[in-house]
Symmetry: C2
Subunit: 763 residues, 2 copies
């Protein structure tokens, strides 16, 4: 997230207006916040993450807790090698990826680990190493100007942006706590006066545009200030961390470079950063990828608060949302532990990330000792070297681990859980991720009622994720690529409806962030028929999209299948494009198509990135496409009109830098239509192994798919399998409460039921 | 492999001319070969694959040999379920994938396994099951006409082609052997007279176009006839298996549908099928994919011969080539055990295939008990349920397994090892497969001096493999797709030189099968510098290609790199296209290019399948392309002229059925050139993980690459790294023997060395 020059200007004006100080040199005297902190209590050290009692317990168990011992051994080897290679504290100079950046980043990680080693191994060499390096930082920092690189909206001193400075302080606070008692009072005063306090001030009072927001950057800043405050026992810093800088407010109308508001509501501080982005279910509004990124400062500061300031009851805050959020995040991963790439999310990020080691261990220790978390810790194969890691290691050692059983779950979005949500339907190896959430902050995509489908950790129908090669300097400096905006965020990049070749909310953040989709119903009580249904009325004014998705396990089918009903109602005629981003190679279709030399599908809104590889027309009432992906066969069966166009698309047009993957798509284009219903089934069936070369169950089990009833009140789909068994799925489009009673006649047959939907034999 | 109607006609005429009988109805009396066989010896049963002594040994060890016990348990569960579901012997009707085909295929596998279970478990229910099913086959077969499906050049009776009938007999012979003593003499006579003998006759004397050749089909036929002959103790059948049908010769000029000669040399029988396709090193001329397919009949019949006819000394035949071939085949696999897809090869076929279980176990037992084979058997996690499987299980149990250490290896091609070959250079995790072989029979590709590069089992630069979805009925019946000929076999589909947009040997089998490349030298004595060099003078008359490839481990580079020198000498000006089929996404290039709307590169010879996605010009003396694939960074640095065109290609043009993968390519196009040298380096460097999001060593270590000397006698390449260290690699283009002494002055510096090449510091 960066700020444009224009916005920075607006911000500076705002700060000048609303506060009594500005981005002054840090040596200048400012508000009373910088005066000598009140010492409100004294405490033994370590007490932040490691505790004195925890260290005793760990030492008592050492050699007897395999996963802890192994982690410790690896850390010891790593840090011993670092110590052997000597201390380097270079004058800051580079952007990410450059030498000084990487060195300072490495240093804070090494310091934190060395602190832990000092405590656990009781070997003074680690303490001395930390002291020596901190003294070098002290010496340098007290005269250090702003970082010479100017690209950031909030420049740090060690790093080009305050965000990285905050990372440094979050880690170094832990190291300082570990050697607190090793240092003399004079040494501590020197470090606190010349390094830690000015450091905390720089990232907060001197950088309110960074610190004083509800944003993942600010969370890091809050945690940094708070953690050093906890170690220094400085209540003013702790308060600044929890509640933000007193008296500072930013311009509520200013925006950042991603189009997000800088601080729309004027909220700030760690508690506000918990309050706003997390729904009561623990869903983080930007999605799992950014939740993972924010997780570490949330939890490590919370752990410190819990230890030093138990009266804050941080793990109970907002009905225990921090621990709930860990459970939500773990549920937002596929069978391999990879997070679903909702909004801006880099594929492959998973619960193997170190932030999730923190999350899992803390959740186990400070939560209710869920044995399922132990199985994830086993897969992670490392633990935190602290009290929580010890608890996990002991749990594993004592054979308490059980599989982490991911079930179907509906996660609300919004601070109060009233802004739509994300539903995950799971049955056997099939996972559906259905998104009917709010915008998702500046990292949100214009993908109302979109979904992705997964089997055994592989994508069946994909969400593209982000267009960025995070930290790969050669690809746009590792930052967001322009294709993230021109493709990845656009509606046509998702498995949802695009009307008239424009994205939802015209692809405008201002508009999108005002709205959210609405849950119609979520029903998982019958594990054989799990259904979620949601409506979106604002993406295209005058048009309502209502999507009902069901994972159905039926004895006539090899595996659970997905039934997808997208009912579109509009006040005018439109062109509807309805894509399926299938992952694999085409095996068979039941319609005729031509394969012209590729043309480009459109000019803007993502269309400019799609080639048309094939153009066909339905030749029967339902069109089918089978593909082979990841060793499985899949078949899409979808009800089509004879006037539909069926398009094969390929990503990659107008992509001179090869920033986009050359992925396939299939699209139904329905023109000049007001109201319509797209009804589809996606089956996974059979498999193919290149080792045995046998193709099992390579054909769909569906013979016919029909919309047999479709009114404002009800939509009914008839699914006929190859043995001529027909099932009827009826969903209530209006009153879908569990108590609602329904009576309906379809083709002369009377149906009566209560609840949201009915799945029945068609006799 | 199928025959066209035209070729069938030619064949039939040939048979009429050269033999005293034709494809008569099998009940008609024919040559003396069909008279009652001479009983030359008697033997206890089982003696074919299982032996009476082996069964005793196995029973003694049961419960005590984990991998054997587990395999046995799995087989028992499988067969018990089959027995419970009853016997089905349907009237033959379908092609592959159809019900009767799959049922008869399943039956022969079940019969073989049931036989083994009967012997090992001594449970009569298995014997009875086999007897009952065989009697149903006997009842049906004696009046069974040719299979109703007519597509095959050699129709079977149970199956649509004799090949599958032969599969059946290879397996069922083993079952028959297992219950031989369980059956009464009358029962045996009934089965032999009405089922086995006519069955063996049908696939041999009645189908000489199938049986009387050197071809993998014939190998199955030979093995089938031989194995039932061994069980029946019928010397005439055994001789027919070993030496072919007496007095039958096929038209030596007739061709099959793949363009291969039906029987150019008039050779036939099992021994000829060993003699011809295997080089003395054990390389199989069609490549590893087909070797794997042929392996089972070769080895299972050999095992039977070894047991019943030890005097044949089959495992010593041709200096032990059968066992050598297993070693060669295992060496033709990557780090994951996947076979390199040379010629027609389906990617993903690996040593996990059941034929390789047979191969590994037999090689261990009848070879020299290589402990490396045990580690492969451990990975396979199953063994043959026979004497050899017992030996492997005991070896593993006794802790004898050691890693199968694949080293660099040069495998000659041709019956006498004089028709070029395939070299594999290995260093650390890098594997180069360099092909300078003969045509590779009808499954060969026009890919002289081509290569593929692999790291840790992943493709860095790919060989496309075949264009076929084996056994996936929806894709052209699971048979070869036309794109196999129009793309996969063409020169431009490979990492080698294409001249004037035509394939090697004009893409004609007649021509290609007359020639082979020549090894210039292979030198692996220095494990840090391994080199292979070969020449091809016939692919393009008037042009010689001379390619020297080295895997070099240099302390200034993170990993071993590939140096590739392709020296082209011609008597006229040509256009040279030199592609690199890199696997991954473009990260960076050092030249400028345009990205037009894709056009198609050419009209024929594979060019019609390539889109041009980018057209560039070199902007420096060496052009670079970096990509990210499988979590590693790779950089190609290649010496270019300012007049070169640099093309980004994408596969998929003129592919209406989506039969081809949409893979990327990069190509140097050098026009109007007689003699030229393409000098390139491919580095693997660093890595990227989406979990840690850190990009390590993402830049090439090369600063400059130059051809500093290039004559008929020597080519010298200077490699300068980013720290300005320069290494010089000089290869002798003419006399490259290990003893050859060389003196050469380059840029005023004198070089003296003996041997094929020199790698030295450039001072």
């Amino acid at each position: 997230m960066k700020l444009s020059a224009n916005n920075i200007l607006r911000f500076i004006i705002a700060v000048l207006v609303f506060t009594i100080f500005s981005c002054k040199k840090e040596n200048a005297p400012v508000s009373g916040q910088k005066t000598e902190a009140k010492k409100v209590m004294s405490a033994e050290h370590p007490n932040l993450i490691l505790t004195a009692q925890g260290v005793k317990d760990i030492r008592a168990q050492l050699g007897n807790i395999p996963i802890f011992d192994n982690t410790l051994k690896a850390v010891q080897e790593e840090i011993d090698a670092e110590i052997a290679s000597g201390i380097e504290v270079p004058i800051p100079k580079d952007y990410s990826g450059g030498y000084t950046h990487d060195r300072h980043k490495r240093n804070f990680i090494v310091l934190q680990k060395a602190g832990v080693l000092y405590q656990i191994l009781d070997d003074e060499k680690y303490a001395k190493y930390i002291k020596d390096m901190l003294m070098q930082y002290e010496k340098m920092y007290k005269t250090l100007p702003l970082h010479p690189k100017t690209r950031s909206y909030a420049r740090g001193k060690l790093f080009w942006q305050c965000l990285n400075d905050s990372n440094w302080l979050v880690y170094v606070s832990q190291a300082y706590d570990c050697i607190y008692n090793y240092l003399s009072k004079e040494e501590r005063t020197k470090l606190e006066t010349n390094l830690f306090r000015p450091f905390a001030d720089h990232i907060s009072v001197d950088s309110p545009q960074f610190y004083q927001r509800v944003h993942n950057h600010s969370t890091w800043g809050n945690a940094a200030v708070g953690m050093i405050g906890l170690v220094m026992n400085d209540q003013e810093l702790i308060d600044r961390a929890l509640y933000g800088i007193k008296g500072v407010n930013l311009d509520k109308t200013a925006k950042d470079d991603d189009g997000g508001f800088l601080n729309k509501d004027g909220k700030a501080g760690f508690l506000a950063n918990i309050e706003e982005p997390f729904s009561p279910d623990g869903y983080y509004n930007e999605g799992p990828y950014y939740q993972r990124y924010a997780m570490y400062p949330f939890l490590i500061f919370a752990e410190g608060l819990h230890n030093v300031k138990p009266d804050v009851k941080i793990f109970e805050y907002k009905k225990g949302v921090l621990l709930k959020s860990i459970n939500a995040l773990l549920n937002l991963s596929d069978a391999d532990g990879d997070f679903f790439p909702l909004n801006d999310g880099q594929k492959g990020m998973s619960f193997y990330n170190s932030a999730l080691v923190t999350a899992v261990d803390i959740s186990y220790h400070y939560g209710n000792q869920d044995p399922g978390l132990l199985s994830i810790a086993e897969k992670q194969n490392r633990v935190l070297l602290d009290d929580s890691g010890l608890a996990v290691a002991l749990g594993i050692k004592n054979g308490k681990a059980k599989p982490f059983d991911k079930k179907s779950i509906n996660l609300t979005d919004g601070p109060e859980g009233k802004q739509g949500g994300v539903a995950i339907l799971r049955k056997d190896d099939i996972e559906l991720v259905f998104k009917y959430a709010a915008q998702g902050s500046s990292h949100g995509h214009y993908d109302k009622l979109s979904y992705s489908l997964h089997e055994k950790g592989n994508e069946v129908l994909q969400d593209y994720g982000l267009a960025r090669f995070v930290n790969i300097e050669q690809k746009g400096g590792g930052n967001y690529l322009k294709e993230n905006k021109t493709w990845a965020k656009q509606s046509i990049a998702h498995n949802t409806l695009t009307q008239n070749e424009t994205s939802h909310f015209q692809g405008k953040y201002d508009i999108g962030s005002q709205y959210h989709s609405e849950l119609h119903y979520f029903d998982k009580k019958d594990s054989e028929v799990q259904v979620v249904s949601a409506k979106e009325a604002n993406a295209y004014p005058g048009t309502e999209m209502h999507r009902t998705m069901a994972i159905i396990k039926d004895k006539n089918f090899e595996k659970p299948f997905l039934l997808d009903i997208m009912k579109v109602t509009s006040d005018k005629e439109n062109q509807y494009d309805f894509p399926f981003y299938f992952m694999g190679q085409v095996i068979k279709v039941n319609f005729e198509y031509k394969s012209p030399v590729p043309s480009i599908l459109g000019k803007e809104n993502g269309y400019q990135h799609l080639y048309v590889e094939g153009i066909g027309k339905p030749t029967s009432e339902s069109s089918t496409l089978s593909w082979l992906g990841n060793g499985n066969f899949y078949t899409l069966t979808t009800v089509t009109d004879t006037s539909d166009e069926l398009l094969f698309t390929r990503l990659g047009a107008n992509d001179p830098e090869f920033n986009l993957r050359r992925d396939a798509g299939f699209m139904i284009r329905r023109k000049n239509t007001k109201n319509t219903t797209f009804a589809s089934i996606i089956e996974s069936h059979g498999n193919y192994s290149p080792v045995t070369e046998s193709a099992l169950n390579s054909n769909s089990s569906i013979k016919a798919l029909k919309v047999v009833y479709d009114t404002d009140e009800y939509t009914a789909i008839a699914i006929t399998n190859v043995n001529d068994h027909t099932k009827l799925f009826i969903t209530a489009n209006k009153n879908a409460s569990t108590e609602a009673k329904h009576t309906l006649i379809i083709n002369g047959r009377n149906f009566e039921w209560s609840g949201s939907y009915l799945l029945t034999e068609n006799k």
